[in-house]
């Protein structure tokens, strides 16, 4: 399954870590938009489950923003 802005934001909404995900900027780090260190771990787990991938600890610097996440997942899925 390919990742899109909609599908990634859907996962973030599912994690219940923000009031409204539509305000989320795609090019800003999640951690800088009110998602704390515990929430972000939950988001990564839900992304792993939704897209059937693994995001190892050493790759976390590559998945800071929504755009990063989309690029990272689509590279992995392909």
């Amino acid at each position: 399954m390919k990742a899109t802005v909609e599908s990634v934001k859907e996962v973030i909404a599912e994690a219940e870590v923000l009031g409204d995900v539509s305000d989320l900027k795609n090019d800003l780090a999640l951690r800088d938009q009110g998602i704390d260190s515990l929430d972000v771990v939950n988001v990564y787990l839900l992304l792993e489950e939704r897209f059937d991938i693994k995001i190892p600890d050493e790759d976390l610097s590559q998945v800071r923003t929504v755009n990063d996440i989309i690029e990272y997942i689509n590279k992995k899925v392909n």
């Binding site: 260190s37 515990l38 929430d39 771990v41 489950e49």
Partner: protein
């Protein structure tokens, strides 16, 4: 039938506040209240050991239940922070309580799953050996192994001890147990001198393994959510308890959260809550679940007689 007759808990009065660490660890009130879920950590005196905490829990038990110490024939201590490497802490507790020489004593080395394992072990051991009056202690004083500069662990753990009195005519009887281990990931929660915890790995383990494990135990016993009055989950953190509850799709009022004023007491977290919840008339069937160090997990269904 052998079962739980009474539980008593001891929590040190000395507390340290996580609000005093807000600047140091750059966190806000919401993080303390709703993510970590620990306002204060209960901390023992520096020279107190696991056996001392057990003795204090037993003194509280004596105030609640008429117990003849001479009759105690089994004493188990669940701890991974024993008084010494040698001997076993249960022998030290035995000595301090002046129990009978006909009393069997041994330790169980487990962390957050320890109470569930301990409950199964003490009941099986007592049944197989025709013993009648058992004490199951939990005491894991983590304050001795916490690095106060490590945000992953410095905000979470508190000291405490519990004792569960097992005997004939128990009020609550375990109906079924289920256990599991993932030893490949043992280093994710690990201690040589100070405790190390890979928070992400431990979170992923609990969020993915524990809800499925609980669901399987319910199905194995032909039970559904409506049949369980309370889920007493190990209090790893508020975030972990909430995550498991949401994944199980269980309502918040069925999952007590209690660690705000003392912290994660490891193997003591389940009996501390069970002690309070057992008193409530409406609670007839519990599901208890402990998970953590090992990585190890265990759950049980406990029913009122």
């Amino acid at each position: 039938m052998l079962g739980i007759k009474e539980i008593a808990s001891y929590l040190p009065e000395n507390k340290i506040s996580n609000y005093d660490k807000k600047e140091k660890f750059e966190m806000d009130d919401d993080f303390i209240e709703n993510k970590i879920g620990v306002r204060c950590q209960a901390i023992k005196e520096i020279d107190e050991k696991a056996s001392d905490l057990c003795v204090k829990a037993f003194e509280i038990l004596l105030k609640k239940q008429n117990i003849d110490k001479k009759e105690i024939d089994c004493c188990i201590v669940v701890t991974q922070n024993p008084d010494y490497n040698i001997p076993h802490t249960s022998a030290i507790v035995h000595g301090k309580l002046e129990l009978s020489q006909q009393c069997a004593c041994f330790d169980i080395s487990l962390g957050c799953s320890g109470y569930v394992y301990g409950l199964s072990a003490i009941i099986s051991f007592m049944k197989n050996n025709c013993l009648e009056h058992g004490l199951l202690f939990t005491a894991d004083p983590y304050s001795d192994i916490i690095d106060s500069e490590d945000k992953n662990t410095a905000l979470l753990f508190g000291d405490g001890a519990t004792v569960t009195y097992i005997g004939k005519d128990g009020i609550f009887i375990p109906k079924d147990f289920s256990f599991g281990t993932n030893g490949k990931d043992y280093r994710e929660l690990f201690c040589e001198e100070k405790l190390y915890m890979n928070g992400r790995a431990v979170f992923n383990f609990t969020a993915t393994t524990i809800p499925k494990h609980i669901q399987q135990l319910l199905e194995k016993n032909g039970l559904e959510d409506k049949d369980i009055d309370k889920y007493v989950l190990h209090q790893g953190s508020k975030y972990i308890v909430d995550t498991i509850r949401k994944r199980l799709k269980v309502s918040e009022d069925k999952v007590p959260f209690d660690m705000h004023e003392y912290g994660n007491t490891v193997s003591s977290s389940i009996p501390i809550i069970l002690e309070k919840e057992m008193l409530k008339e409406e609670n007839k069937r519990f599901l208890i679940s402990g998970f953590g160090v090992g990585l190890s997990w265990g759950s049980a269904i406990i029913e009122k007689v």
